[in-house]
């Protein structure tokens, strides 16, 4: 019965979403406050109903109710509890339900905490959110209904793809979706402004926290996905330029641009039209990401839902929302007033450069992702665009951005002094140069560009520190004064500097591991050993082990360095009996110089095992960098200056009494 109530709640949510879309739109047109006011309870009810449906589905998973087809297809009674729960969104139907749940969560947040918004704007925003919910709820109920039942129910399920039975992947989709769907807030605010034909002064302030929250979660979600690929796919790669990865990376690039342009809009009332357009583009890319992954147009690790009927449906949703928003933009944007002038060399100017480079880089990724699809559709040829293309297009665009990055925060608004900023960055430049020289000296046989890359990373970190040092007058004022300034500096400033430094940390990790990675592929019989990066690995043998829903062969490798043993690694191969497939669990030792990464391969004819050993220098910095960026975003989000006070509302008793009965 829980399952059926959940199903009904989902359909009721569709009904509520239609009301949430239609009545407030009519209300704001007619200036009818009663119709307008429906948006708030509708958004809350929608969230509660979808939340209930989600919990109902989760209950079915947890109790292994195989009369629900979705549970039967994607679960198994022997699965550990964590994966029974994550199995809810580890499949197409459930993940779409999670998608609308998060959408409704954002809508409910705007209706509950958006009391400082003008009501018309709030109602329009919620109406646009409601229309997105209508589209996706229809999609779920008609083509991907998770509440379909089987009678009689089978006694056990078909299991979850073993590759997905992993802690990092259990939480990767929720974060990714919070990111994707969070950008829907920026989209709804943009469309609401276009419907209104006006942009309020606080528009950017209202939009920025949502965008920032979405951006943080997307950063973390992408990092988790890459972390998972690193240790689970068994060859130590962390980014593949796979279309599915690009699908999440493009909204990230556009979202990063949006964050920065909204900053200009908030502080200086400039770049308004561009920011609106960017908000539309960012969410369009999120929709496209959903389309690419969910429609099955790609065949890759992630694309586990393949069904053309669904693809056409999502394509239609995309067409309506992207096309509709762009048409609305073309029609209404001329109504929006431009404001705030600035000189090319200024904080605004630097943020325009940032936007320019980020959007062009995003376009490069878009071309690299869609070109193979278009080619396949037109000629039937299947090609794959991989790292070489992106190294040639994306990297040259991003490197100038990285070099320019520390300058931005040091320039003044409106009209800045590039020379003064450069002088302040002298120390950072000197440190980076010193690092480049040291790295060159250490790695005399190339690759030659790598030390420069490390230098850029250091430049970013020291540059971020320079900004804080400059703002608190670290070297000009007394200790007491500096301390006072440190405490008074807005959190947003710390957040921004942290996020920039996080990029630097990540760049160092990316460059080091790409340039100086070591690899050995050997056949080892028990007792054999192999040397890599100063470590000696001795293979002790392989033993069987039985897990909750798999059997595995676990290898034992004793790692020693300089003759003394210091750790033991256990890479394994897992065989999942229900799903009839195997996964590789790599053994990873995490040292300060980098990761030692061991993969157990197949047994060869002579009894030896093929073993792959990698040394990935400084690879952890990639994910530590992402964490720092996430943390920077969180610090910035906690800045109370982002909250705008509302004018006093003259909600008098008289108005209440005379309101239509």
């Amino acid at each position: 019965m829980i399952a059926e109530v959940g199903h009904y709640a989902l359909i009721l949510a569709l009904g509520v979403a239609i009301v949430q879309t239609v009545l407030p739109l009519i209300g704001t047109r007619l200036r009818d406050p009663q119709l307008t006011a429906v948006a708030v309870p509708a958004a809350q009810a929608e969230f509660i109903l979808i939340g209930f449906a989600f919990l109902a589905l989760m209950t079915a998973y947890v109790t292994s109710d195989f009369s629900v087809a979705n549970v039967w297809q994607n679960s198994h009674s022997a699965k550990p509890m964590l994966y029974k729960i994550s199995g809810v969104w580890g499949n197409h139907e459930g993940s779409m339900l999670l998608w609308v749940l998060i959408l409704a969560l954002f809508g409910a947040a705007v209706s509950t905490f958006g009391k400082n918004l003008p009501r018309q704007l709030q109602a329009n925003v919620l109406a646009v959110q409601g229309s997105i919910a209508v589209a996706f709820l229809l999609f779920i109920i008609i083509t991907s209904n998770p509440f379909m039942r089987i009678d009689p129910a089978p006694f056990d399920g078909e299991g979850l793809n073993p590759v997905l039975q992993d802690p990092a992947l259990a939480f990767h989709p929720p974060f990714l979706y919070v990111g994707y769907v969070g950008f829907s807030m920026a989209f709804s605010f943009a469309v609401a402004a276009l419907i209104d034909g006006r942009i309020d002064a606080a528009w950017a302030r209202w939009v920025r926290p949502w965008t920032l929250a979405a951006w943080m979660c997307l950063t973390l979600g992408i990092a988790m996905g890459s972390w998972w690929a690193y240790y689970e796919l068994g060859w130590g790669g962390f980014w593949f330029w796979d279309p599915v990865e690009n699908a999440s990376f493009m909204p990230w690039l556009a979202g990063t641009a949006l964050l920065h342009s909204a900053l200009v809009m908030e502080k200086r009332d400039a770049l308004k039209v561009w920011t609106i357009l960017l908000a539309i583009i960012t969410f369009s890319l999120s929709l496209m990401g959903t389309f690419l992954v969910r429609s099955g147009v790609l065949t890759s690790v992630h694309a586990f839902a393949v069904d053309p009927e669904r693809g056409v449906f999502i394509l239609a949703i995309m067409g309506v929302f992207i096309g509709g928003a762009l048409v609305l933009f073309a029609w209404r944007a001329p109504l929006l007033t431009q404001g705030g002038l600035f000189a090319p060399i200024s904080r605004e100017g630097s943020l325009v450069l940032n936007n320019l480079l980020l959007t062009v880089a995003c376009a490069a990724v878009l071309v690299g992702t869609l070109y193979p699809l278009a080619l396949e559709a037109l000629t039937g040829d299947k090609i794959s665009v991989g790292a070489p293309f992106f190294n040639l297009t994306f990297v040259p665009l991003i490197v100038p951005l990285l070099i320019a990055m520390p300058f931005g925060p040091l320039l003044a608004w409106k009209r800045g002094d590039l020379l003064a900023a450069a002088q302040r960055l002298t120390a950072a430049a000197v440190v980076s140069l010193a690092v480049i020289i040291v790295v060159l000296a250490l790695h005399q046989n190339g690759p030659w560009l790598a030390p420069l890359g490390i230098g850029i990373g250091v430049w970013l970190i020291v540059g971020a520190a320079t900004e804080i040092a400059y703002r608190v007058k670290m070297f000009d004022a007394s200790g007491e004064e500096v301390w006072r300034r440190l405490r008074n500096l807005p959190r947003a400033a710390y957040g921004g500097a942290l996020a920039h430094a996080g990029v630097g940390v990540m760049v160092i990790g990316l460059v080091a591991t790409s340039a100086w990675r070591e690899e050995r592929i050997v056949a080892l019989a028990p007792g054999g050993s192999v040397d890599i990066a100063g470590y000696q690995l001795t293979f002790k043998g392989v033993a069987p082990r039985i897990g909750p829903n798999y059997r595995e062969r676990v290898g034992t490798f004793v790692i020693s360095r300089g003759g003394s043993q210091f750790t033991v690694l256990h890479p394994s191969k897992r065989e999942f009996t229900v799903e009839r497939s195997t996964t590789t669990e790599s053994g990873i030792h995490n040292g300060w110089r980098g990761d030692l990464y061991v993969v157990l391969g197949d047994q060869l004819k002579d009894g030896a095992f093929s073993v792959r050993v990698y040394f990935n220098p400084l690879v952890r910095l990639i994910w530590i960098g992402a964490l720092v960026m996430f943390f920077g975003g969180a610090v910035s989000l906690s800045d109370r200056r982002l909250r705008v006070g509302a004018p006093k509302r003259a909600r008098t008793k008289a108005a209440m009494a005379t309101g239509g009965k």
């Binding site: 019965m1 059926e4 109530v5 199903h7 009904y8 359909i11 009721l12 569709l14 009904g15 509520v16 009301v19 009545l23 009519i26 200036r31 009818d32 406050p33 009663q34 119709l35 307008t36 006011a37 429906v38 309870p41 809350q44 009810a45 109903l49 109790t63 109710d65 195989f66 009674s77 003008p118 009501r119 018309q120 209904n145 009678d151 129910a153 089978p154 056990d156 006006r198 309020d200 002064a201 606080a202 302030r205 009332d269 409106k414 300034r485 008074n488 039985i546 705008v644 006070g645 509302a646 004018p647 509302r649 003259a650 909600r651 108005a655 209440m656 009494a657 309101g659 239509g660 009965k661």
Partner: protein, 386 residues
């Protein structure tokens, strides 16, 4: 019934909250410019506090202050009282009635289309407690499986479930269960024999080396067992040792233990093997290993064909074509079969037969334009008159 009460309650609650604003007053709110003015005041304060804290230089602060102040003045000039509280009336009432009627009906309609209101929840734990009505093997199996997952070291459980798996044709599960039972309880003739059978059936009737070892061990423990003997003989046949296989089977027929089902099967196998020995392979394809009619590709045929001399191979092919022809001549609408036959005759250089078969096929498919088209296409390809 309870379900409908809950659904009705849910709908009513949602409608109540949804429609409440339509019944009350909308209240009024300040004009939009008032929001802007509030923001500008906020920004002024911010500039002021930044200046006071020394975060921005005096000149910059002054410039910012002037700019914001200009906007504030503009906003203040535009703002004229409140945005006004319009009286909601007719539209609200219409919406109220419309939503209250249409929403429940539409939702109910969609739910009846997609939902299964009669089906109760069926959590696994509860289902395993249900009384068994004797027929439902699946419940028993699920129960034992659940028990075995919790206590994988209980050999008795594996021992009990293995033959069940075998009888429901879950051969690999059966092999696994027998292996566990043997590991935990030790080898017995029955377990080894079952294990061997499961291994053979899992491989579609091919007796692997591992299976043969198990079967031989079973026989060494209990020489009266029939199944291992049959399978070992089949193994010999699959190795091409027809004489040895025939000898085994004849020995088996002399025993009293063999019941009728086995007898019939063994007799066919003997006939087949002897046909192989005399260079005239079997008459039909129903020769596979089988307690309950083991099926699978006729591995021995293919193997035999590979080891035959060219002359023998020709004979084998001829006999296969013969069989196909005999089947089709009795009046068959098996189009692929006919196509294959025509092609086979052509390959065997029996043009006349091919022509006859083609004509026969076309009469068989008279009126079926598609089939005729395919036959004509084949004829054209092979250079036959059609």
């Amino acid at each position: 019934m309870l379900l409908w009460v809950i659904l009705a309650g849910l709908t009513a609650t949602v409608l109540f909250f949804l429609l409440r604003p339509l019944a009350g007053g909308g209240g009024d709110e300040p004009a939009r410019e008032a929001f802007n003015a509030a923001v500008y005041r906020d920004q002024l304060e911010e500039v002021e506090s930044d200046r006071a804290r020394g975060l921005i230089p005096e000149a910059e602060a002054e410039a910012a202050r002037i700019e914001v102040a200009r906007r504030l003045l503009a906003a203040d000039a535009k703002k004229s009282g409140t945005g006004g509280a319009q009286e909601g009336g007719r539209p609200a009432r219409a919406a109220q009635i419309g939503v209250a009627l249409a929403l429940p009906l539409a939702v109910l309609g969609v739910y009846l289309l997609y939902g299964s209101p009669r089906l109760p929840d069926q959590p696994l734990a509860a289902r395993l407690q249900e009384p068994v009505n004797g027929e439902n093997i699946a419940v028993l199996v699920a129960r034992v499986e659940a028990r075995l997952r919790a206590h994988p070291e209980e050999g008795e459980g594996w021992d009990a479930i293995a033959p069940v798996y075998l009888s429901v044709r879950s051969f690999s599960a059966a092999a696994e269960a027998y292996a566990q039972a043997i590991r935990l309880l030790g080898a017995s003739a029955k377990r080894l024999s079952g294990y061997g059978q499961a291994l053979v059936l899992e491989k579609d009737g091919v007796v692997t080396e591992q299976a043969r070892t198990m079967l031989e061990r079973a026989l060494s423990l209990d020489a009266t067992l029939v199944e291992p003997r049959v399978l070992i003989a089949i193994a010999k046949e699959q190795d091409g040792e027809y004489a040895a296989a025939v000898k085994d089977w004849r020995g088996l027929l002399k025993k009293d233990g063999a019941d009728e089902a086995w007898r019939a099967m063994v007799q066919t196998r003997i006939a087949n093997a002897e046909a192989h020995l005399s260079g005239q392979p079997q008459q039909d394809g129903t020769d596979m290993v089988s307690p309950e009619g083991l099926r699978g590709p006729n591995a021995s045929d293919i193997e035999a064909a590979q080891t035959l001399s060219p002359v023998d191979r020709q004979a084998l092919v001829e006999s296969m074509v013969q069989r196909l022809a005999a089947r089709l001549e009795q009046g068959s609408d098996d189009l692929p079969g006919w196509l294959r036959l025509v092609r086979a005759y052509t390959v065997l250089d029996r043009k006349d037969d091919a022509q006859k078969a083609l004509a026969r096929a076309k009469s068989e498919f008279a009126g079926n334009a598609q089939a005729i088209e395919q036959l004509d296409a084949l004829a054209a390809e092979l250079g036959l008159k059609s």
